[in-house]
Each structure stands twice: as structure tokens, then as C-alpha cells.
């Protein structure tokens, strides 16, 4: 895992959440490079740039202005170029039906934003670790579903 850094991207319109996210990764032992975007449009613009470095894991907030998480998810799933990205929906709270729907639409991970920092760190760490294990063990990414 130390060979390369793990590239993480977060799209979230909330400043506090972006800060907490970046800080959390900063305190983890894992070698990561974190980029954040303020909304869906910025995110998709970046991803669609031809030589953009694609993330290993993409965290999407659901409620974003201009283009929300679900719309981004849909677009990403349409483009085979993004097939290797593990997509995590990172959201405040949703109904069971809504959560199921995000998985059905192609998300790999659903995370309910935790309300304390330590838990946040653990959650992010788990996501990255499990994703890396998937990657190294050649497991079927289509079946990669995780809910935290």
C-alpha cells in the first residue's frame, strides 16, 4: 500500500465537511492525496478533462447545488472511462429506500456522515483499506458494496 499514494476526491458543498474530511485523512497513516470540489459541476468538469488523474475512491455528497450527487453518479456510470473508480456516497441521512436506490444506480459505498471525528477517521480508513484489498485481490468490483 505504500508504493503509491491513494488518490481521493470529495465533492461536497459544505465547507466544514470538506475541512473535516481532509483533516481526517491527514491524521490517518495511509498515504493519500485528497482533492475536494465544491459542487457537482466542478467535479464533472475535472473528471471529464482528458488527462485528469482519476481517483481511486470518489466521495460524493448527495445534496449539492447545480448538480447533486445522484446526477454525478449517473453521469460517471455512463462513462466507461471511470469504471475503476470506487464511488462512495457520503451523505447526512437518507431513508432506507433512498440508500438502496444509490446502490442500485451503481454506487459502491454508502456512508452516513458520522457525528464524531474519531468515527469519521475510522470510516474513511475502512473504506480506503477495503477498496485497496479489492484492488489487490482482483476481486469483482461490480460486487463491491459497502455500507458504513
Amino acid at each position: 500500500m505504500d508504493k503509491d499514494y491513494i488518490h481521493i476526491i470529495l465533492a461536497d458543498d459544505d465547507e466544514d465537511d470538506r475541512m473535516l474530511f481532509t483533516d481526517a485523512f491527514g491524521e490517518l497513516r495511509i498515504n493519500t492525496k485528497v482533492n475536494t470540489f465544491n459542487d457537482g459541476v466542478e467535479l464533472m468538469d475535472y473528471l471529464n478533462t482528458p488527462d485528469a488523474i482519476l481517483p481511486n475512491v470518489l466521495f460524493l455528497d448527495l445534496n449539492m447545488p447545480k448538480k447533486n450527487g445522484i446526477e454525478c453518479l449517473y453521469e460517471i456510470k455512463q462513462n466507461s472511462r471511470f469504471n475503476d473508480i470506487a464511488i462512495a456516497i457520503f451523505s447526512t441521512s437518507s431513508s432506507e429506500e433512498h440508500i438502496e436506490e444509490t446502490f442500485v444506480q451503481g454506487a459502491n459505498i454508502y456512508i452516513k456522515k458520522p457525528s464524531d471525528f474519531t468515527t469519521l477517521k475510522k470510516v474513511l480508513s475502512d473504506v480506503v483499506t477495503i477498496n485497496w484489498q479489492y484492488h489487490t485481490s482482483g476481486l469483482n468490483r461490480d460486487n463491491f458494496l459497502l455500507r458504513l
Partner: protein, 594 residues
Amino acid sequence: MKIKRIYKSTMFLKSIFVVSIFAIFFISAVTYKHINILNNSSKWVNHSYDVNLELERLFSYLKDSETGQRGFLITKDSSFLKPYIESKEKIIKSFALVKVYTKSNPDQEQNIRKLEFYLSKKQNYLSASMQLAHTKPVTDHALKEKLVIGKITMDSIRIQINEMILLEKNLLKNREISYTDTIKVTPVFVYITLLITLVLISISYVRISKDLDKLKMSNNSLAVMNESNNLAEIVGNFGSWQLNVDSKEYTFSDNSYRLLGFQPQSFFASQENFLNHIHTEDRSSFSTANEQMLLDGYLAPFTYRIIREDKKVRYFRTTARIVTNKSGDEILIGTTSDVTDEVLVSLSLEQQNLELEASNKELSAFNYVASHDLQEPLRKIQTFVSRLSDKEYNNLSQSGKEFMGRINNSVERMRILIDDLLQYSRTTKIEKVFEESDLNELLENAKSDTQQTIDEKKAIIQSEKLPQMMVIPFQIQQLFANLIGNSLKYSKDSVAPQIKITCSKVIAEEEDQVPKNTKEKFYKITFIDNGIGFEQEYAEKIFILFNRLHNKNEYAGTGIGLAICKKIVENHKGFIFAAAKPDVGATFTIYLPE
């Protein structure tokens, strides 16, 4: 029995009529015959009389000629020859007549021949003697001889004539006898027939008059019914109409006119006239429905608007169907009611409903958004408090640490409250998707949701097999999770919680708690625990939103959990009841319709 039936039948009068006609014909035939006979009878009498008279005349003429002859014989006066000559002719004529009269009878014909012989003989001798008398005196022998033969012939003639007369008399008598026999019967026939006819006519009369009475009674009750119908129409605010399908004649009842704001029968009853009063927008649909009605012979209740005489708009509803009367006519009968009140009320109810729904939707949305959006800042508070705690805990004073602790507690409570509120608002969402689900699976999911607590408290959960049903899966799962969670939360300190879940199929009527006028079959699922229970008097209160039986220091809770359970059960058109004994345990019974 059979006679009574004959009497009652409708053919009775007709047959009596026919019989009477026959009787009349019979009587006239008999009478005609009788008259004929009488006619004939008198004819024969005349005939006999004529014959006899003529015979007498003949003899008289003969006598005259004889007298003439005698006179001449005596006086030799030629003036006595005149009657003799005249009588000669008369004799011939008279004899011819007699011949004609007696032509029909063979016996008489024989007599006539005999008479003819005698007559001619007499004539001969008469003329012979006359000849002689011319030249010879009276005492002449030849003359005397002739005279004597003449006299004998006359006697024979006399005898013959008497015979003929007698024969005629006998003939007449015989005829009389035979006629009398025939005639005797006639009156009897006539009287008998007359009697029978009289009886029949009396019977008919009785029958007819009884029928008339019945008809009168029917008519009376019909008149009364008509009146009561009219009254009913007035009271019930409807009108009736009829259409004779064949003759195309319409009849509108009095109240039909009143409904339109007119005086009864104030205009000619026709479809065009009625159409004039229908609201312009509804005219075409009404006409279409009308045409279809004439084809089908039936009109399902059809609502449309009319404009009354006073220009007010009213809602009418018409229904019709065909009946066939006793004469085989097809009559389309219809009823038109003024349903304006009903329609207006229903419209206003619809309106109110829509408003209520919109309002509910708004409230629901508000609830949802509020709960959802409140979570964000709350989470932030918690997160940053936790960061503060992590980073700066050692830099805090004792009271600082305590304050942090209390902040955390309050914030946590608030979080749970908002979570529960959010959950509650989710169960009231309008769009509910029912799916065929395995309740056992939902129960397993609910258990794994609370697995941590189950393991901590070493709880044992036993369940019977649950059915497959059409439910909202996430809600039922929530229901189970809440109930299990409750049982775990309110368990006794020293005893490991045991939860028993049973399931059976029941009929609504056999269950006391279920209201009677509901769907028949239910699945009854019970959750029985061995926790701290509660007083039975609170059994209904605990389902009320925010209602709690313990304060927050004893047991954490928001008072929303069971309200959510009740809402979920109501969403499925079921029922939930609680029963408990303090310190023994609680039983929650859920009824879900099949």
C-alpha cells in the same frame, strides 16, 4: 273445480257470446220453419177449399145445364137453351180449373179422369137429349131413356164429386195431423233454448258486473297510487316520464315540470322541448346518451345540468329502462332527480379533500425537511465538540470537561429526537409502495439492526414462522426493529431479555379488540417480552406521539418509537394493541390484514 275454472277464464264470455248467437240462429230457424208450416197449412186449406168450391160450382153448372135442358124439354122454349149453352162453357172452364187444382195428387187425378168420363158422358147425353127434344115430345122413349141415363150419370158425377171432396178433406186432415205434430215441438224447443240462453246471459251478467267491480276497485287504487306517486315525486324531488317506443309519445309527470320550474303539463312533452332546458355544454352528451338509451333500452344513471325557468342551474340525474306492458307495448320509463344538493356537497367535499391533502402534503414535507435539515448543523456541533474533546481535553478545566459532557449528552439526545422525527415523517409519506415480502426476512433484518444490543444484553429472540404478505418492506422492518428495540431497552436489569414472537391467522369477528366492520382475515403477530412492563391503564397512551412513561434519566427515549409503530400499522390498514403487567412483561399485538 273445473266449472269454476271455466267460469273464471277469459274465454268464458266470448264462448257465451258465441253460444248466444247460435241460440238466436237456432230459434230463428225453428220459428221460420214453424211459420213456413203454418203458411203451407193455410195454403192447403185454401187449396182444398178451392177444389171443393170449384167442384161444387161444376156441379152447379151441371145442374144449371140440366135445368136448362129440363126447361127446354118442358117448354120447348129456346130461351132456356141460353143457360144450357152458357153453362156448357162454364163447365168446361170449371173442370179445367179443377184439373189444374188436383194435378198434384195421383188419387185425385184418377178421380178426375173418372169425372171427366162421367162429365163427357153427361154432356153427350145432355146434348143428345137436347137434340131429341127439338123434334120429339117429352114422352119419347128414346128421350126418356137418355134422360134416365143422364140422371144416373148425374148421380155418378155427384158421387164422384163427393168422393173427390171427401178425398180432399182427408188429404187436408192428414196434412193437418202431420203439421200439428211438427208444430207441437216448436214451442218446446224455443222455450228450452230461451231458458238456456237466459241462464247463460245471467251468468255473463254476474261475471261482467263482478269484473266491472274489480276494474272499479283497481282504478280506484290506481288513482290513489297515482296520487301517492305524485306526492312521492314532490317530496323526493324527482320526476318521472314515459316514452312509448312505438308511437314515440312522451309523457312527463307533473313533478317533472315542476322540477324545471314550470307548471305541470305547461308545455308539450317531447324530447326537443326537454332538450331546450338542458345546459348548452351538456346537450350533446345528453343527446348521445339518449340515443344510446333508445338502442339499449336502458340508461345507467346519467348526470347533467339544466337551467331552470328562474335561470338557476341545477344538476339532474336520469335513469331509465324498458318495460313491456300487458298489451305488449314497449314503454321506456325513466326517473329524473334533482341531485343538485348532492352534487354540490360532493364537489365541495372534493374541494375540501384536495385542500386537506395539499395541506397534509405541505406539513409532511415541512416535517421531513425540518428534520432532515436540522441534522446537518447538529452533526457539526457533535463533530466539532468531539474534535475539541480529542484535541483539547487535557487543556480543559474540570468544569470545562463537565460542560463538554453535558453538551454531548444534550446534543446526542437532540440527534436521536431528530432521527426519530425524521423516521416518523418518513412513515407518513404519501407514496407507499407495497411489495410481496417475506416477513421472516424483514424480522431477520430488524434483528441484525439491533444485533449489537442483542449481543450485549444476551437477549434471546424466538419467533414462529411469519407469512409472506403484501407490505411496505422497509416500514415493517422498522416496526419489528422498534418493537424489538423497545423490548431490549425496557428489559429487567438482572434478567436476560427474552422476546417471543408468535403468528396466527384470525378472523376479525373472533378478536375482541378489532373493530367489527373491518376486513375479515388478519395475521395476528405478537411480541411478548419479559421486561419491566407497564400499567395496563397506559396501554393506549403509549402510542401517542411524544408520550413517555419514564423520564429521560431513567430510560433514554423520545416517545416517538411506538407512535411510528402505530403509523406503520395504520399504513397497512391494521391494528396494534399493547397489554402489560408491571414487572412481568409486555405484549404487543399487531393485526395485519391478509
